[in-house]
Amino acid sequence: MKDIEKQISKAQHKYLNGEMSRRDFIKYLSIAGASIGLMGGPFGASAMAGKSIRFDSWGGSTSEAFREFAFKPFEKDTGIEVIEGQFGDMDTYLTQIKASYPPGGEFNLAHLSAVFDYARYVGLGYDSVIDESKIPNLKNVMTAMTKPLRAITDGKLSAVPFDLGQTGLAYNSDKISKAEAEELGAGILFEDSLADKIGTWGEWRTNIWYAALYTGQNPNDIQDLDAIWKALRKQQKLVKKYWSSGAELMSLLANEEIYVTTAWSGRVANLQAQGHPIGYLSPPDTYSWMEYIFVLKGTDMDVACKLLNALLEPECAIAVAEAQKYPPSLDPTKVKMPETVQKLPAFDPTGKLEGYLFANPEYWNSKQIEWAEKWDRIMSGA
């Protein structure tokens, strides 16, 4: 009953702050009332109960890694249930958050990518303030990963960095030699001779980023936009499939439906571990990103901090890293990393992440509306 009160007072708070209309507030109360009668709590969401927390991530091998090496031991130790959800891309997930009632209220923790997403969530008011004293393991996290987040939330944190990776280039090494791939660099995605054997993630940022590299521009400061659209239109004719999830990416490469694609470094490492002839290429200015566990407003902070601290426990973070094939956010100068982690793509032994190019949050967020729509049209051949 305490949770119900908390949720209703949260909705009331939103209403009083003008974030929720009177009509929506009344609607919320009636729906909550009806659901209490039907299910014993607003929306019957067990994620709202004190002894459970919802965690949304990228599905496939990433979710499996979390389940096996983080959540199972956590649930055993604390009795707190972790309810898992999955998403395929960041924009769709943000829409789900917005569509929840009250917005964000049905979600707790999200495994988000890139600082621009952190900025979007903060901009939309979904952030919370983490009590860092309750997460002692945060001291082991690379400062290079917490700094950009703190810059957005006035020195505080609404998320803890968890891992980092790259969207690089994957190629079938039986069909394309390493030397050939390295010579082509980003141009491999626009190579005429590979027509019908090229794939790429159907996400606008990734493709505009690589079109920028192909046209010799800085992805964080594109000057010749026409050249970008021209390159992407040329690429559209060569692309066999714009994939939409990590699982699909792996299946396309494993079944040789495509020979080359933009690819998430961890998924490529997973394919390599499975014995597939897949090479990984990270040309200069490869699209790098850091991932973090974002705590959405309204989440039970005590439960969240407990889980976050457990996730940053070196034993757990390393096990998840080995399984999902993304290096952890832990500073290798503070925590000794096993060889398996050191060999992962995007691993930085210095812990400073110098030379990694991340998407500038302000730049990319300001372009979203215009570029995402344009990209959708180009992708479908307009």
């Binding site: 924009d91 829409t95 917005k98 299946s251 079944n255 040789e256 995402a372 729509e373 959708d376 307009a382």
Partner: protein, 290 residues
């Protein structure tokens, strides 16, 4: 029977329909009305909705050649799937109608069995079968019919094939139920009057089964016109139908009013087809003939 008793008795028959009416009202009509409402609002740059009355979403749609092309593409896809499913499905439905005993049971199982599996699972099954590393490609290579692996995925024929496999069972079952209504004495009479098997089919069976062909064909068309999963899984961005674009507008581009307008446009076109079909059936007086 007095008027009062008649009224009472008809109310008694209406009672069982109440749950269905409530369900339709709550989970079909109400969401559609909500969509209509959303589609008449304006979307702000970051996905917020400005609750003003505007027709801009519909105007934008019908003045944007890109979406007109998508609409035509969806229409043609519906047509292609219908053209493939209607004759092929007829053959199977006819065979099912003509069969008896074990043969009919086997045919039934073959038609119904795919429906026991989830649609997405079935579509991924096609992905495996048609992939370059799949059994068809392997067979073609082994028999020397293809020199290298063959990728049949992400093409229009593959999408039509996927939709055919989805719609065919429903079409066959609808048509079969109509075929079973045909009085066998009509066919016997045709033979008695000297008709050949072909003549009996075209002059008796075909006209009497036409209502099933049209109703089943309509289901197939509507299904393919509003297809979402198949073009997404078996196709590529260039194969996206209006339904996929509606999803993109709502989920990826976060333009709910525009996405809702897409949904309403799909619904209106579907209703238009249903209207035309009803007109066609009435004109041909097909129901009366049966």
């Amino acid at each position: 029977m007095t008027a009062r008793t008649r009224k009472k008795s008809s109310l008694k028959y209406l009672l069982p329909a109440i749950p269905l009416c409530v369900f339709t009202l709550c989970f079909f009509l109400f969401p559609i009305l909500l969509m209509v409402k959303y589609s008449l609002h304006h979307s702000l740059p970051y996905g917020e909705i400005e609750r003003i009355f505007t027709l801009e979403n519909y105007i934008n749609f019908f003045t944007d050649i890109y979406y007109i092309k998508v609409l035509i593409k969806s229409f043609l896809l519906g047509l292609a799937v219908s053209v493939v499913t209607i004759p092929l499905g007829y053959i199977v439905a006819y065979a099912l109608w003509q069969s008896r005993g074990l043969k009919r049971k086997i045919l039934y199982i073959c038609i119904l069995f795919p429906l026991f599996t989830n649609l997405v699972v079935r579509l991924y099954g096609w992905r495996i079968i048609l992939s370059p590393a799949g059994p068809i490609s392997n067979f073609l290579q082994k028999t020397g019919l293809a020199e290298e692996s063959v990728n049949m995925l992400f093409t229009w024929p593959t999408i039509v094939l996927g939709l055919f496999s989805e719609c065919a069972p429903y079409y066959i079952l609808i048509l079969f139920s109509v075929l079973t209504l045909i009085n066998p004495r009509y066919i016997d009479a045709a033979f008695d009057l000297g008709a050949t098997r072909l003549e009996a089919f075209f002059k008796v069976i075909w006209p009497l089964s036409l209502s099933g062909v049209i109703s089943g064909g309509l289901i197939v068309y509507i299904w393919a016109f509003g297809a979402f999963a198949t073009p997404t899984i078996l196709g590529n961005a260039k194969h996206w139908t209006l339904a996929v674009h509606a999803e993109r507008q709502i989920l990826s581009l976060r333009d709910w009013p525009y996405g809702s307008a897409f949904g309403i446009i799909i619904l209106l076109f579907t209703l238009l087809i249903v209207f035309l079909q009803t007109k066609l059936l009435k004109r041909k007086q097909i129901y009366r003939e049966i």
